[in-house]
Subunit: 212 residues, 2 copies
């Protein structure tokens, strides 16, 4: 079950709340990036960044984000991951919406200092981006590792909000001669584009060719 | 030209900064949602939401977001709009990246109280979602307007960061027998899905059928 703290309990559209941890994992594992929110000098700052998950922990790059994170102490963050699945076209402007799946995670981001966890966090980030690349490409050197900070965020205080399906119109509006429905938003991968300086004939590895 | 305040001047990857307002508009006008960051009870909160643009002003729904916004006073926000265009697959883990276009806008969100601007803001939100729907579907009633708050954010303090093209690897790594390149991320619309209760034969209007 997901937590029910005041800030993860939905104030609006409560029927859209998902309460199963499996739904949280599904939303996180199938997206490419998150939006990391921090408070910097008293104002909000939202940066897109990659992430990876190992069990109950989310790993994000630490170089993005708040000064307080870079200085090594933990900081309050909000990580939001959103899939836009469709545009909900209702009979009234008022009932227009999106179909979406959104996870929000609150917590204190801990800078990862243990060398083993640091490497595992980077591996999770890499495998989230493109599964198979960790074993296929050149691993980080000691110098590169030192230049890459990783933050760990426990998946303790999280909410998931999902909207699926047809528009919900006001009763009287169903009689209107207006087309209503959903325009699906589809995201996928195009054919791999080789680096122009790649030696001719270098084969695209199967884990890239078949990335879903 | 875009602003160059301390928080819109990139600390890292300066070569990725775009400085043209046209690029800001392009990033904003071609995305579907933004991530709105606010400070709520001292902690960051990031919510996905729709938006629209009229000239130098961004309009977002006010019902999402901070308590301070709902109470009617302006609040510091950060609005981030991100397109993920590709996964950059380098020869080393360290040089992996995303191709992306990202706009960040800082400012004080002003609750819109003028009835004309309120309606124009909603129209911009609606037309951003699906151009043509404002004239095609039922317009908001007075009661619906009262239930929909709109925030205005000036496009004054903004930054745009863009990464395009092939991976940038370390000189020595180009000799490695590793495929490198970009896996494009493609987002588009699927065929419209009619509301199941729609009378048979209701035609999909051209502005939905041809939405790009």
């Amino acid at each position: 079950m997901l937590s029910t703290t005041p800030r993860t309990t939905l104030g609006r559209e409560k029927q859209r709340a998902a309460t199963d941890r499996a739904e949280l994992y599904e939303v996180l594992d199938s997206a490419l990036i998150c939006h990391l929110g921090v408070v910097r000098d008293g104002h909000p700052m939202v940066v897109p960044t990659g992430y990876g998950r190992i069990g109950e922990t989310l790993y994000v790059h630490g170089s993005t984000g708040a000064t307080s994170l870079r200085s090594g102490q933990g900081a309050e963050v909000c990580v939001t991951v959103t899939h836009v699945d469709g545009i909900v076209l209702a009979r009234s402007i008022f009932n227009h919406s999106f179909n979406y799946r959104c996870a929000m995670i609150y917590g204190t981001a801990r800078p990862v200092t243990d060398p083993d966890e640091h490497l595992e966090g980077l591996r999770a980030l890499s495998e989230h981006l493109a599964p198979g690349q960790w074993d296929y490409t050149r691993r980080p050197t000691r110098k590169e590792l030192a230049a890459t900070s990783v933050l760990a965020l426990p998946l303790e205080e999280a909410s998931v909000k999902i909207r699926r399906g047809a528009p919900g119109d006001d009763d009287a509006d169903y009689a209107l001669p207006i087309w209503a429905g959903v325009l699906p938003v589809v995201t996928g991968f195009g054919p791999p584009v080789p680096d122009p300086v790649l030696p001719e004939g270098t084969a695209v590895p199967p884990h890239i060719l078949n990335r879903r």
